[in-house]
């Protein structure tokens, strides 16, 4: 048992393992766990060996005399009250120490991140940088990060098993959680989960954490703090293409659109940083199946026009919930902030890859893609499972071609 658990410690095969020392927080938890495991295994072996011995040794034999009716033995009973008590002292002392060490106030120079839980996605704010983003966190290696956790609706729990323990998001209360990703951390992309049951799509409330070098982090942050770069420049230097089919599709739809745009040549260059898509480890690439019966004519995606998309987006129901810095019509913060949505690798809170196809399907019928989704269905003729209605043009529904335009616009938001 212990051996198998140690196997679990070495990350690779178990990408969300809790046994590792990637942060000082997790290191202290794991050290404590080892102590618990040691004493637990000791007691386990002692009891089970005694039990098996008793079963084998004292099996009833025919015609045996009745056993001596022993009613108790004070010495023995004191002994096996005292031994567990002593073992518990060995556990209790490091426990209390670790409680106070890990729940102390974070260092004052720690990077502050405000985490806001929503049904069922994560809002992340970097107040020092003026960044509001969603479902993906960038952390500089070697710097302590202090999360301030709140929620706008029900309870959630913020958990990145590889980086530390979880902490709940409690309504009308702010909780804190801090840790320092090691400077020499090996893996760079981690899965985060909601660990407190929060309704229909609790299972789908995931996020990603990228630990990057401090200079990369600065470039990322500076870029994210700026308004959306639109229209985009033809060449997108930082995102190399070629990481699988999805990405090819991605580039195929984005490139011609960018080239067609007249203003492209004068647009500012995208010099920011985001985690290179082709370096994403397999465990952060979602495998969620698409809902049955939901389709999108993918040939339309290539014809999507970002400018038409922007215009359409800016007068559709999208702006009722989403904000895009740089688009004066889009300032609502009910849903995820989309300013740099194209720099993110997943959509729908870690549920699907962020590519043209998934974006299109998502816009067309979000509740079908993610049960209970508060984002309404938009595709004409689609059934909204949450609001129990069928979308028509009169209700502001969009055709596949229109959705393709919006996809083009969103994919341009690097």
């Amino acid at each position: 048992m212990a051996l198998a658990m140690i196997v679990g410690a070495c990350g690779g095969e178990y990408p969300n393992s809790t046994f590792n020392h990637t942060t000082e927080f997790n290191a202290s938890i794991d050290t404590l766990f080892d102590k618990l495991m040691f004493w637990g295994t000791l007691v386990f072996i002692a009891v089970e060996v005694a039990l098996v011995y008793v079963i084998v040794r004292f099996r009833r034999r025919p015609n045996a005399a009745d056993p001596k009716p022993v009613h108790g033995n004070t010495t023995l009973e004191i002994l096996w009250t005292a031994i567990p008590a002593v073992i518990l002292i060995f556990i209790a002392i490091p426990t209390v120490r670790t409680i106070f060490a890990t729940q102390a106030k974070a260092a004052p120079d720690a990077l502050q991140i405000e985490v806001v839980g929503h049904q069922w996605w994560w809002e992340f704010r970097y107040p020092e940088y003026g960044i509001t983003t969603a479902n993906e966190i960038y952390l500089p290696k070697g710097r302590t990060v202090n999360f301030a956790l709140t929620t706008v609706d029900v309870l959630h729990s913020f958990w990145v098993p590889q980086l530390g323990g979880k902490r709940d998001l409690i309504t009308n209360k702010t909780n804190y959680l801090w840790f320092t990703p090691n400077a020499d951390i090996q893996t760079d992309a981690f899965n985060g989960f909601c660990a407190e049951y929060c309704g229909s799509s609790h299972a789908n409330m995931k996020f990603r954490v990228y630990t990057v070098e401090p200079d990369e982090f600065e470039r990322w942050a500076q870029h994210q703090a700026r308004p959306a770069v639109f229209p985009v420049q033809a060449a997108v230097p930082v995102v190399p293409s070629g990481a699988g089919v999805a990405l090819v599709q991605d580039s195929a739809s984005a490139m011609p659109m960018a080239g067609d745009t007249a203003a492209a040549a004068t647009a500012p260059a995208v010099d920011g940083y985001w985690f290179p898509r082709e370096q994403l480890p397999a465990h952060v690439i979602p495998t969620t199946r698409l809902p049955k019966g939901l389709t999108f004519d993918e040939s339309l995606l290539a014809q999507g026009d970002a400018e038409r998309g922007r215009e359409l987006y800016s007068r559709s129901s999208c702006i009722g919930c989403h904000a895009i810095k740089g688009n004066p019509m889009s300032v609502s913060n009910v849903g995820p902030n989309l300013t740099h949505v194209a720099t993110r690798h997943t959509i729908a809170s870690g549920l699907y890859q962020n590519d043209a196809k998934h974006l299109a399907l998502w816009i067309k019928n979000a509740p079908a893609m993610k049960p209970g989704s508060l984002m309404p269905t938009i595709g004409i003729g689609e059934r909204d499972a949450v609001r129990k209605n069928t979308i028509s043009a009169a209700m502001g529904g969009l055709t596949d071609a229109q959705i393709a335009d919006i996809v083009a616009y969103l994919q341009a938001l690097k």
Partner: protein, 626 residues
């Protein structure tokens, strides 16, 4: 003063015709028959809860499972937990409380026989009330713990959680009524000489449990009243917009919820403490310590509730205090394990199926206990809570502990309940498949949890290193279901045509084994006089009662209560009528959103109904004048 020798065991006479048939079951106030009703009803709910678990596991067998929708999954895990806790394990324990406590303390019935019937009917009807919605996909979906604010109208506007709130209120009435009844019974109905420290250990553990029920259930009642008022009348207890603190619910829920854990496990501990001595042919090792540790567990159980809340951010001091109190509970629990081992040590162990389940409890509960200590340490718990590690932990406690203990009790007391043995061969299938199945199901969950799988998730991504563990758990569920099937077949066949059992087929030491199997309606012809803890075992150590056979007892005649002139309580339909009125009244609340007039009408009609039933009941004497 008669020094009558309490009747040697007999074959009972044919039951009087008035005592059979459906009407006799609906009106029965006999604690033994009510115990049987509890047993059968609880087993039906156990099967329903098990099928819910099977669907959950089918969905999780592979990544991105397609068996269930998210909403159906959420309803199923909510109902699995609610069903197993409130409708299966607690009532299975209640079956033994009912059947055994009066027999073990030498009483003719419980203190309030009609109240006892009322408890059962409320449980049955409340169980149906809360279970039926799952067949219409409108079952509660907020978790068995119903955390606010998710369970409030703002976030759960549908009728689903209404069933849960009202259903738990109804079931609480049943548990509380039973608790008052059994506390009174144990305090005041013990036969002469049955001092507290001579009581059989099962009765002792039950005694502790009744206090836990009496003191813990009012707390959840209030938590539910708040939720009910929030949902139906728009109060603000959990209304986040009004500044409410969602932790209020958690504190109230767990002040109830942790004692509830001991409500679920202590009866099983009690049963095992009866089974192990009998089949080891040795008295329970350290009886006083077993009693005191049970009391201590119950007492400390009220001081540890916040260990369910280490991740909510209570601050280091609260975390440390609740961590230490939780660790303290491990000491009396450990003592029980060691005393069981010492009971068997140097004994003459006979491995009947009952004994196997009892021994397996010691082995399996130990695993659950150790993982329990692991999350008593808050920093470690932050990596464990709300993951499958916790699911593994409490299933070792509740399946490996409670259910195994209850199965041990079932195989052990079945001859006393029915006068027939359960089949040992079918029982062996039941036992071994259950043991293998539960380990296969729940052991891998330790890994899936620590490798990062959160609880209550209806799907998970491929490539997360947890596929194999989930597949093992699902296969284990199939084995477990097969084992349970053997158990049910065994129960059915043995009840109909099992081998006949004598009054004391196991050579057991306590007084319930002095009377015929099944016992006559009045239990004891004369109240026995108790002079020792194990009246049937000579305590000097020379003679221990041997197993008796049906053949050697054949031909003896058991007189009926009427023949003996013993006044027995009259059957009454009023408990059932009153219970139905209570349920009717509660169900009126379901309509408050759709049709307020109808809702109020039903509630008033229900109230008049049950109050009329209650007055009729109270104004009718329990027995004929004599």
């Amino acid at each position: 003063m008669a020094t009558l020798v309490a009747a040697p065991p007999y074959t009972s006479t044919a039951t009087e015709s008035a005592n059979t048939g459906l009407w006799s079951w609906l009106t029965t106030v006999d604690h033994k028959r009510i115990g049987v009703l509890y047993l059968i009803t609880a087993l039906v709910f156990f099967v329903i809860g098990g099928l819910e678990a099977f669907l959950i596991r089918a969905q999780l067998a592979v990544p991105n499972g397609q068996v269930l929708s998210a909403d159906m999954y959420n309803q199923l895990f909510t109902m699995h937990g609610t069903t197993m806790v409130f409708l299966a394990i607690m009532p299975l324990s209640a079956a033994f409380f009912n059947f055994l406590i009066p027999l073990q303390i030498g009483a003719r019935d419980v203190a309030f026989p009609r109240l006892n019937a009322f408890s059962y009917w409320v449980y049955l009807l409340g169980g149906i009330f809360i279970t039926v919605p799952i067949f219409f996909s409108v079952a509660p979906d907020g978790g068995w713990f119903g955390y606010a604010p998710l369970s409030t109208k703002q976030f759960s506007p549908q009728i689903n959680m209404d069933f849960w709130v009202l259903g738990l209120q109804i079931l609480g009435i049943s548990s509380l009524a039973a608790a008052f009844n059994f506390i009174t019974t144990i305090i005041n109905m013990r036969a002469p000489g049955m001092h507290l420290m001579r009581m059989p250990i099962f009765t002792w553990m039950s005694f502790v449990v009744q206090f836990l029920v009496a003191l813990a259930f009012p707390v959840i009642t209030i938590a539910l009243v708040f939720l009910q008022f929030d949902r139906f009348f728009g109060t603000n207890f959990y209304a986040i917009g009004a500044g409410a603190d969602p932790l209020l619910w958690q504190h109230l829920f767990w002040v109830f919820g942790h004692p509830e854990v001991y409500i679920l496990i202590l009866p099983a501990f009690g049963l095992v403490s009866e089974v192990l001595p009998t089949f080891s042919r040795k008295p329970l090792f350290g009886y006083p310590v077993m009693v005191y540790s049970g009391i201590l567990i119950g007492f400390l159980g009220f001081g540890v509730w916040a260990h369910h809340m280490f991740s909510v951010g209570m601050g280091p001091i609260a975390d440390a205090v609740f961590s230490l109190t939780t660790m303290l509970i491990a000491i009396p629990t450990g003592v029980k394990i060691f005393n069981w081992l010492a009971t068997m040590w140097d004994g003459q162990l006979r491995f009947t199926v009952a004994m196997k389940f009892g021994v397996a409890l010691v082995g399996m509960f130990t695993i659950g206990g150790i993982s329990g200590v692991m999350h008593s340490s808050p920093p470690a718990d932050l990596q464990q809570t709300d993951t499958y590690f916790i699911v593994a932990h409490f299933h070792y406690v509740l399946f490996g502990g409670s259910m195994f203990g209850l199965f041990a009790g079932l195989y052990y007391y079945f001859p006393k309940i029915t006068g027939r043995f359960m089949s040992e061969s079918l029982g062996n299938w039941h036992f071994w498949l259950s043991l293998i199945g539960m380990n296969l199901t729940f052991f891998p969950m330790h890994f899936s949890g620590l490798l990062g799988m959160p609880r209550r998730t209806y799907q998970y991504d491929a490539g997360q290193g947890i596929e194999v563990f989930n597949m093992l758990s699902t296969i284990g569920t199939l084995v477990l279901m097969l084992g349970t099937l053997f158990g049910l077949i065994n129960l059915w066949k043995s009840w109909k045509s099992g081998e006949r059992a004598s009054s004391n087929p196991w050579g057991a030491p306590t007084i319930e084994w002095t009377i015929p199997s099944p016992p006559p309606e009045h239990n004891f012809d004369e109240l026995p006089k108790i002079t020792s803890r194990y009246p049937l075992w000579d305590l000097k150590g020379t003679v221990i009662a041997k197993e008796t056979t049906y053949a050697e007892e054949a031909g003896r005649v058991q007189l009926s209560a009427k023949q003996l002139g013993i006044p027995m309580p009259n059957p009454s339909i009023m408990p059932l009528i009153t219970a139905a009125g209570v349920i009717f009244m509660f169900s009126g609340m379901l309509f408050t959103d759709s049709n307020m007039k109808l809702a109020v009408g039903i509630m008033i009609a229900g109230a008049v109904w049950w109050i009329a039933g209650l007055y009729n009941w109270l104004l009718t004497p329990l027995e004929d004048a004599h």
